[in-house]
């Protein structure tokens, strides 16, 4: 599925704003992203498997709050970096 990558994470994706990855859940999708782009997951997800404070993940424009959310191959995933201050 198509995953939109925000600018702070594009150093991992060779500058690409959108990449392909797969998974039946957000957790699996992030694991696949990390296989393709090593290190990218830990910048978004902490060691307790929580989405970091200034990261937002949307599936079909709906915000998800955990990694267990289910995904279909046609889903659109958007990762957004939210306000973090100066």
């Amino acid at each position: 599925m198509n995953v939109a990558v925000p600018s702070p994470l594009r150093s991992y994706t060779d500058g690409k704003a959108a990449v392909n990855a797969s998974g039946a859940t957000v957790a699996e999708l992030l694991a696949d992203l990390d296989r393709r782009y090593p290190g990218i997951r830990f910048r978004m997800i902490d060691e307790q498997d929580a989405i970091r404070q200034h990261i937002r993940i949307f599936v079909n424009r709906e915000r998800v709050h955990g990694l267990g959310a289910h995904l279909a191959p046609s889903d659109e995933v958007i990762i957004i970096t939210a306000i973090s201050g100066g």
Partner: protein, 387 residues
């Protein structure tokens, strides 16, 4: 019995020096010529990243480690083995263990401090984090694991004040000192916890805070809970410990276990509060501090807007002001705990970076100062290394 001091280190005749300047907006590298007069600034590396510490491995003099995080993104470490020409991210940065279901686990907010391991242990590094945890790498900083003797110690949450109030940017574990005579002998400082010592490579720890004030706690002489700003053992006499604390400047001579407040000899109008503490690379009686205003509501600026370094040449019995070349007035910056250091030349060069983005240098042990960089972002760390 006091331990035998190591033999004096040979003064290097390196052709130049490297200054690693960690800032709120990235890493800058300064290369100095042999006389330490000409400096070339390069960078920023990792523009936009908060760089709390950057250190060159003195054992191979090639490996650079950088502790970084960005406003949106989690903490990580970047590594270079070619003086910063190319960088690679640590494949497993410091992280606390995943908690059992239903339990709340700790999350590393940032890596605050880096210390290369003992000379006999190439590739070993230690890192201190916020919240306060101790981590170790055995592969040059590529993969990291928690030091269980500290992080999993039944007293960890109590010692480190987990879940309690801390500084605005989080309590930090820092000042990891390794005894040059013994790789298993470690000291560390916590900004909310105090000084701790291990003599078995980190398997067990004990607090080392007797005699040190903690005037923000109700107990008169608590065992732990102190606010260490910077802890340094003397490079050639590691039994001599100096500490810049939230409550003054202290010294301890091991095997003694009681701190003596040597900052009481500082001028009363200046006080003995500050962040950094630097010890002479060859003379354990010489140390430098950079006082800040810790009066009233704690402005944490140069006292009176008149920045100055203070030095002792006699282990803290007396202090003298070193401000030649520094602004005489109207300079309200200060210097953070990793942002002041010494080189190993003779005479020793001293360097500090300010919260207003200037780097100042002295090539005569602090007598005269001159700016060697300006207009940088807020500086968090300055480390000197021979090229």
């Amino acid at each position: 019995m006091p331990r035998k001091p190591p033999s004096s280190r040979k003064v290097r005749s390196a052709p130049g020096l490297l200054l690693l300047v960690g800032t709120r907006k990235g890493l800058f590298v300064m290369k100095g010529d042999a006389p330490r007069r000409g400096w070339q600034l390069s960078g920023p590396h990792f523009l936009g990243h908060i760089v709390h510490h950057a250190v060159l491995d003195p054992r191979d003099r090639r490996t650079l480690l950088v502790a970084a995080r960005a406003g949106h993104l989690g903490p990580t470490l970047f590594r270079s083995t070619d003086f910063g020409r190319t960088w690679k991210e640590a494949s497993r940065p410091p992280a606390f263990p995943k908690a059992a279901t239903g339990e709340k686990g700790l999350v590393v907010q940032h890596v605050f401090w880096l210390t290369p391991g003992h000379a006999s242990e190439p590739g070993v590094w230690y890192a201190g984090t916020s919240p306060q945890g101790l981590f170790r790498s055995a592969d040059g900083g590529d993969t990291w694991a928690g030091v269980d003797g500290f992080n999993a110690n039944p007293m960890h949450a109590t010692w480190a004040g987990i879940g309690q109030d801390g500084p605005p940017d989080g309590a930090t574990l820092h000042s990891i000192n390794i005894d040059p005579r013994d790789p298993s002998h470690l000291y560390l400082g916590m900004s909310a916890g105090g000084v701790f010592e291990s003599t078995d490579g980190g398997a067990t720890w004990r607090p080392l805070n007797k005699g040190c004030a903690a005037d923000f706690l109700p107990q008169p002489d608590p065992e732990y809970g102190h606010d260490v700003h910077c802890l340094r053992s003397a490079p050639t006499a590691p039994d001599v410990l100096y500490q810049q604390n939230h409550c003054g400047i202290y010294r301890m001579d091991r095997p003694g276990d009681r701190w003596t407040r040597i900052g009481e000899k500082m001028p009363k109008a200046v006080g003995d509060i500050g962040f950094p503490m630097v010890v002479h690379p060859r003379d354990a009686k010489t140390a430098w501090v950079f006082p800040m205003d810790g009066s009233t509501v704690w402005p944490r600026t140069s006292p009176g807007g008149k920045p100055a370094v203070y030095a002792t040449r006699n282990g803290g019995a007396t202090w003298h002001r070193l401000a030649q070349g520094l602004p005489a007035k109207d300079a309200w910056w200060t210097v953070k705990r990793q942002a002041m250091c010494a080189d190993n030349r003779d005479p020793v060069g001293l360097y500090f970076g300010t919260t207003s983005g200037e780097v100042w240098a002295s090539t005569d042990e602090g007598k005269r100062w001159r700016p060697i960089a300006e207009h940088l972002p807020h500086i968090y760390s300055v480390e000197a290394a021979p090229l």
